[in-house]
Each structure stands twice: as structure tokens, then as C-alpha cells.
């Protein structure tokens, strides 16, 4: 099983998903992020999904849950870099990623977290 690295920069945790993830890896990421939030006292999470070719209902639900879990640790989650084809497919699938914020790219996501967007 592949593990997704979590990088802390300032008070933000950065996650860049670069490979086609199996379900267990996504669940693992959720757990690793919860651990990292308690350990680092970060107040923001940026998840870059630029490289993700699809987001199906399971992955979408996990992203929503990561947002909900982060909030319990007083941190905001921003999903960045969604491909246009993924956005169209997600909408048709009926998934709205309620509760997580989105931004075009990591820079804009960071600005959103810092309140300067």
C-alpha cells in the first residue's frame, strides 16, 4: 500500500496526491492527517489533487471526511488543482464535496487559508 507524504510548512499541512490511490491508501491518509494535525497544531490543510485522474464517490467521501475531521482540530481544508474533467464528472455523479473549500491551485489555496483571498 502506498502512503501519501504530509509536509508541514508554517502552520499549513501540504498533501500532494501524485499517484492513483487505492481505497486503503486514502483511508490511511485520513488517519495520518488527523495524527499530523494533533502533533503539529497546524490550522490549515491543502490537498493538491492536480495529478488525480478521477475522484469517485469513495474518494470524494474521504475528502469530505478529511475536511470534517480537520475542523474538529480547528483547521480548514482546501482541495486544490481539480482537473476540469474531474469536476464535471463529480457533479454528474452527484457529489458536491460539501464542507471542504476548493481553490484553483496551491497558491490560491494558501491565500484562502491566510484570509487574503
Amino acid at each position: 500500500m502506498e502512503r501519501v507524504p504530509i509536509v508541514k510548512i508554517g502552520r499549513t499541512l501540504f498533501v500532494s496526491i501524485q499517484i492513483d490511490l487505492e481505497d486503503e491508501s486514502v483511508v490511511r491518509l485520513q488517519e495520518d492527517l488527523a495524527d499530523a494535525l494533533t502533533a503539529t497544531h497546524a490550522n490549515g490543510v491543502i490537498i493538491d489533487i492536480t495529478a488525480m485522474e478521477i475522484v469517485d464517490s469513495f474518494i470524494g467521501r474521504m475528502l469530505t471526511m478529511i475536511g470534517a475531521i480537520s475542523r474538529l482540530f480547528d483547521a480548514e481544508t482546501v482541495i486544490v488543482g481539480m482537473r476540469p474533467a474531474v469536476a464535471i464528472t463529480l457533479t454528474e455523479l452527484g457529489l458536491s464535496l460539501r464542507g471542504v473549500r476548493t481553490a484553483l491551485n496551491a497558491e490560491k489555496g494558501l491565500a484562502l487559508l491566510n484570509g487574503s483571498a
Binding site: 487505492e22 485522474e53 474533467a85 452527484g94 457529489l95
Partner: protein
């Protein structure tokens, strides 16, 4: 026609990658490729989680009109579905999801055929055509 086993989360990823290649080969647009790969991901996961594992068959197809497409058949030997109509209802779930898997997959493809009987597994065949 390629036959792929679905016995682990890893296999679900392999099915996605295989369908992606087949969809590109049959000339589907990037959006349509993404839709059929997403549908395949939902159905492969269903076969694994609810069917206890199964098989995906991926093939390129051609209509009489000359249109090309990709057809994927999923079969499992799981407990089957007692009420197919209910299973296809958006939001209906066995309890561990959002209930978007089957109904969502159906929306993302052009043809969708589900056959199932309690005790004799489930078969789903989907087709996505190039425009």
C-alpha cells in the same frame, strides 16, 4: 477482450488504468474517458466490497454506424441484489456509503445493464460511446 481479476484494492486501481487506456484507444474525449473510468471504479469497488471479488472484462466495441466505444462487464459471485430497483435509487445504501455508486455509475455511461438474483451474483455491463 481483456479479463481482469478484482480481488483487492490494488486490482480496482488496475481496472481503472486498463479502462482509461481502452477509452483513449476508442477515441473518447477526455471528459468521457474520465466519466467511464469513474463509473468503472464504482462498479469494480462494488464487485470487491459487496460481491466478495469478481472479474472485469474490458473490450473495444464498434456500432453499425461506425462509432467506437468501450464496453466493460463486471461479474461477481456475491450474494446478489434482491431489489435491483431499490439498489439503483440514488441515496439508497447498504449503510457504508452515500448511495451514489450504482446510480452515479449509471448516469456516467451511455448503456447500463444490471442483472442479479439473490444467491447467484451480480453482473453489470456498461458501454460508453465516442461522440
Amino acid at each position: 477482450m481483456d479479463e481482469l481479476p478484482i480481488r483487492s484494492g490494488d486490482d480496482v486501481v488496475r481496472v481503472r488504468q486498463h479502462v482509461r487506456m481502452a477509452a483513449a484507444d476508442s477515441g473518447l474525449s477526455l471528459v468521457d474517458q474520465t466519466k467511464v473510468v469513474t463509473a468503472a471504479s464504482e462498479l469494480a469497488r462494488n464487485a470487491l466490497v459487496h460481491g466478495g471479488g469478481g472479474t472485469a472484462r474490458v473490450e473495444l466495441v464498434k456500432a453499425d454506424s461506425g462509432r467506437k466505444g468501450v464496453r466493460i462487464g463486471f461479474t461477481d459471485d456475491g450474494p446478489g441484489i434482491a431489489d435491483v430497483g431499490q439498489a439503483l435509487t440514488e441515496g439508497w445504501t447498504t449503510g457504508d456509503g452515500l448511495g451514489l455508486g450504482l446510480s452515479g455509475a449509471r448516469r456516467l455511461v451511455d448503456e447500463f445493464e444490471l442483472t442479479s438474483q439473490p444467491g447467484s451474483g451480480t453482473s453489470v455491463v456498461v458501454v460508453k460511446w465516442s461522440r
